[in-house]
């Protein structure tokens, strides 16, 4: 199975379900070192995405993901809206055929990461979603020769490990940076939602 429009749609729908189910947890994480809205933001955004994709005719995965990104930008707000929105748009733009193989999806995910880093200027270690997405993209690309399923599984695991590891970091970007050393000891909400989104991909491509 290659990554086509239906797979892209399934990914986004699964991500929406995961984010919605974990909205309270994400908001709680954001409450500790941020402003207690990350789960609410993503739930609102992905609910809108699900509605936007309903009946949306797409000739390939790219269109689905561009639509997803555009909708997130229009509905989420906050820091995560433009970041996730731009990432999905970049991933989608990189996928111009009717379907993509693992190598192509890996390259597209790398574009997504680049979009986030360009917009947010966060480096790995700054305690942001980059700390989940960066190792995930590397893992995906490394495992791409094994096919979509294994690559996505590797990415999900790397994202989960990266998200967990943010707990030890001191934030240098985003709201948590205002806390200085007090940000240490709390897991980053954005890195956590990134892990959920990549786990959704792995589940769909399994």
């Amino acid at each position: 199975m290659n990554f086509d429009a239906d797979a892209a749609r399934a990914w986004v729908v699964a991500a929406a379900a995961a984010v919605t189910e974990n909205a309270d947890h994400l908001t709680q994480l954001d409450s500790a070192i941020g402003d207690a809205d990350h789960g609410v933001n993503l739930k609102r955004g992905f609910t809108a995405v699900t509605a936007a994709l309903d009946g949306f005719a797409a000739d390939g995965p790219g269109a689905v993901l561009v639509k997803t990104g555009t909708t997130l930008i229009s509905k989420v707000g906050g820091a995560s809206g433009p970041l996730y929105g731009s990432a999905f748009r970049a991933i989608g733009k990189a996928l111009d055929g009717p379907e993509a193989d693992a190598a192509a999806l890996g390259a597209a995910l790398r574009d997504g990461l680049a979009a986030i880093r360009k917009l947010g200027a966060a480096a790995p270690g700054d305690k942001t979603m980059v700390d989940a997405l960066d190792p995930a993209v590397e893992a995906f690309v490394a495992a791409a020769p094994d096919g979509l399923g294994p690559a996505a599984e590797a990415a999900a695991q790397a994202a989960e490990a990266g998200a967990k590891a943010t707990a030890e970091l001191q934030a240098r970007k985003g709201r948590a940076s205002y806390l200085g050393a007090r940000s240490v000891g709390h897991q980053d909400p954005g890195a956590t939602s990134t892990a959920l989104i990549l786990r959704a991909l792995a589940t769909v491509l399994d």
């Binding site: 908001t27 409450s31 500790a32 402003d35 609410v40 229009s74 707000g77 906050g78 809206g81 806390l179």
Partner: protein, 332 residues
Amino acid sequence: MKKFINAPEDVVREALAGVAAAHSDLRVDLENQIIVRADAPRSGKVGLVSGGGSGHEPLHGGFVGRGMLDAAVPGEVFTSPVPDQILAATQAVNGGAGVVHIVKNYTGDVMNFQMAAELAADDGITVESVLVDDDVAVEDSTWTAGRRGTGATVFVEKIAGALAEEGASAADVAAIGRKVNENSGSFAVALTACTTPAAGKPGFDLPDDEMEVGVGIHGEPGRRREKLQPAKQIAATAVESILAAKPLQRGDRVIVMVNGLGGTPQIELYLLYGHVAALLADAGVEIVHKLVGNYVTSLDMAGMSLTICRADDELIRLWEAPVVTHGLRWGA
């Protein structure tokens, strides 16, 4: 949860409906969630737009009106508005002389306003941005998100608004806004956490004898936690923190705001102001104008912030210029 609401996700929309019902001098676009002066766009006048997450009222909606903002763009509670809203506000106030965005320095606000400015440029509207980053509790560093925008936003909006009303260019309006920000420092202390409608419980627990020092306006904990101090000591901490980052000389003139974060009685704000005034008098600094009250809040947080802005003749003249908004009004 102890709030006068119906459902958390409807709070901002329903509050805007209340604003629409209350104030016929404002045009509330419920679709785009923006508040616009009823007489906008005014041909030849620079349009002034600000916005950010809701929960800081009267900022920004309370400052829309003659001599201040042309439009406010409220996001969800503590969540930056989205580019579509900001674009709609920018279009609504564009009278051909360009639009100035006043943006508090938060990653989300900066990115969403930036995206909106790019969309507006595609639309042929020139947008200048003024970034407000006055909170001296946060270190100023290029490696981090930098200082937060807090109390000085009121000063920037008032003074830039007055210059815009005089017919100045977008570049000049933005320049004076940046000058106000550069001249300003703020510092805040909280005694309780606030509760967002979505979270439904206070953002952090604070023992009865402790306070959070160096807090922002989004319910986040501060830079450090300390034993509760007498008001006099808290005022001194705030003044010293600001002066360390934004030094003043004897003879300097300032505009000062002692601001409540939402849950602090006015009587305590005046008590604090008395101490601030005495401390600045000791430093040989003249308070030319002042605000004491709730101007930039953090929902129901019990807390105070102090903002000090070094002022020259031009800033003082623009501060004194007429302003007719629901949150600030004089001279007309």
